[in-house]
Amino acid sequence: MRKVKYITRYDLNLPVQEEEIKNLKISDIIYLNGVLITARDQAHKRIMEYIKNNKVLPESFQRLKGSAIYHCGPIIKELNQKYEIISGGPTTSERMLSENEIVKFLGIRFIIGKGGMTNLNTKENMVVYLSFTGGCGAIVNQKIEKITRVEWIDLGKCEAVWFLKVKEFGPLIVAQANGRSLYKK
């Protein structure tokens, strides 16, 4: 473990208000507490189908204002109909389609993933992209207090939407915010 000197750490509780995130700068480090959801390729496609066809999303999605979408397809252990996340690091964000529309529709303030999202409009949508280090799946097991809900389990355990209550989930690096990006591409 090597100590760092120049990075600012923020501990934030979900849902966040706009004022709490507007001053976040790239390279800041965040630890999140509260409820967020996982969503990857198939969940993004399905949310968009609902939005496009004016179908009403499950009620649990209506309460995500100020929350976070985590690009993650976890390993789930099922025992007596109880689920546990065994390992749950981030997946490549660039694959997710229609994120700007989804962010606007649900009122999302954080996207968590790896590799960044070229088309994410952080400025206009007041959303912050947080990079969680790829491959660090096991350690997430320690940061999840509980699974509060699962939607769309028919998509499979990896692609379903998991509602997770997290505690000190981080270090999450502010990689895209206010139109700026840390990616070297």
């Binding site: 397809g73 390993i75 997946t91 590799g115 990079s131 799946g137 350690i139 840390l182």
Partner: protein, 294 residues
């Protein structure tokens, strides 16, 4: 007959064990490489992440859970001595071990029907897992290596069919462009396996097999070793850094394997691997004794 059955059971157990090690433990050489990087790195963003990577390796190994949730497509490399008593049934032995590993470790099921999107949640199905069989002459030993290959890094893999007139001159720049474009997506610092020559299929297989070479072991031929070092240096000037967020090191190692090519073709196979390069293997002899577990 009984002896053969007992060897089969031993292979199945050793396979399960190898799958478990390959998904929950990172080889020491990788942990060392990242620890060394931690000392050299100037970027604090890289330092924060390297700290987490090393902590995650420890946590996964201690809890015996997959260090990355992407337990990949399990690739099996079989080196079969032609005097080893069992010459068949490997597919079914492997399938049994994969099924058990998926349920009990557990692994994520990464086998999805490309047409219907159905996932049988068992890591099995049409033509998976991939098995590469190599017959070794004058040997009575069976060696099996398991390489879980995650999606993020694999998505950056490529095949190039270059013009033989300038393929050798051009291939380095073409690979550099791919790595640059990919940025943080393959989970850098990456390891590259490259197959030069052969035909389209062979170059890709060689590229994948190159990943199994020990760390920093240069190709035996000096002209090839020189290209490996050149390419490694060039990629490390891109400043992509840990997870694409900037820093000194983007690539940990470049490994090139070659094969004779067709006069009209210059195939270049590129297989990209993430920093969390996990694999495990075992050897078993004709008496059913298991040794050399890595």
């Amino acid at each position: 007959m009984e002896e053969k059955t007992s060897i089969k059971i031993k292979i199945e157990e050793a396979l399960f064990d190898s799958i478990k090690r390959a998904t929950t433990i990172v080889p020491l050489e990788i942990e060392m490489a990242l620890s060394n990087l931690l000392k050299e790195e100037d970027s604090e963003i890289a330092v924060v992440q390297l700290n987490l990577m090393l902590e995650n390796f420890k946590y996964g190994a201690a809890k015996e859970i997959p260090i990355c949730q992407d337990t990949g497509v399990l690739n099996f490399f079989i080196d079969l001595g032609n005097e080893f008593p069992i010459m068949s049934n490997f597919k079914s032995i492997i399938e049994k071990a994969v099924l058990k590993a998926t349920k009990t470790i557990p692994l994520r099921s990464n086998s999805v029907d490309p047409i219907t999107n159905e996932n049988p949640e068992n890591n099995l199905g049409f033509n998976v897992p991939p098995i590469y069989l190599n017959i070794i002459e004058n040997s009575s030993v069976l060696k099996i290596t398991v390489l879980p290959k995650g999606g993020g890094a694999e998505n950056v893999s490529r095949l190039f069919m270059l013009n033989p007139s300038n393929g050798l001159e051009k291939f380095q720049d073409i690979i550099i462009d791919v790595i640059k474009e990919a940025g943080g997506m393959p989970c850098p610092p990456i390891i590259l396996g490259i197959g030069l020559g052969g035909d389209a299929t062979l170059s890709m297989v060689l590229a994948k097999k190159a990943l199994l070479r020990p760390f920093n072991q240069r190709h035996a031929r000096k002209d090839i070793a020189k290209i490996e070092i050149e390419l490694l240096d060039k990629i490390n000037q891109l400043n992509i850094g840990v997870m694409g967020l900037g820093g000194k090191i983007t690539c940990l190692d470049v490994r090139i394997e070659i094969a004779m090519r067709h006069p009209a073709s210059f195939p270049v196979g590129l297989i990209v691997q993430c920093y969390s390069h996990r694999y495990a293997s075992f050897e078993i002899n004709e008496k059913g004794e298991i040794y050399n577990e890595i």
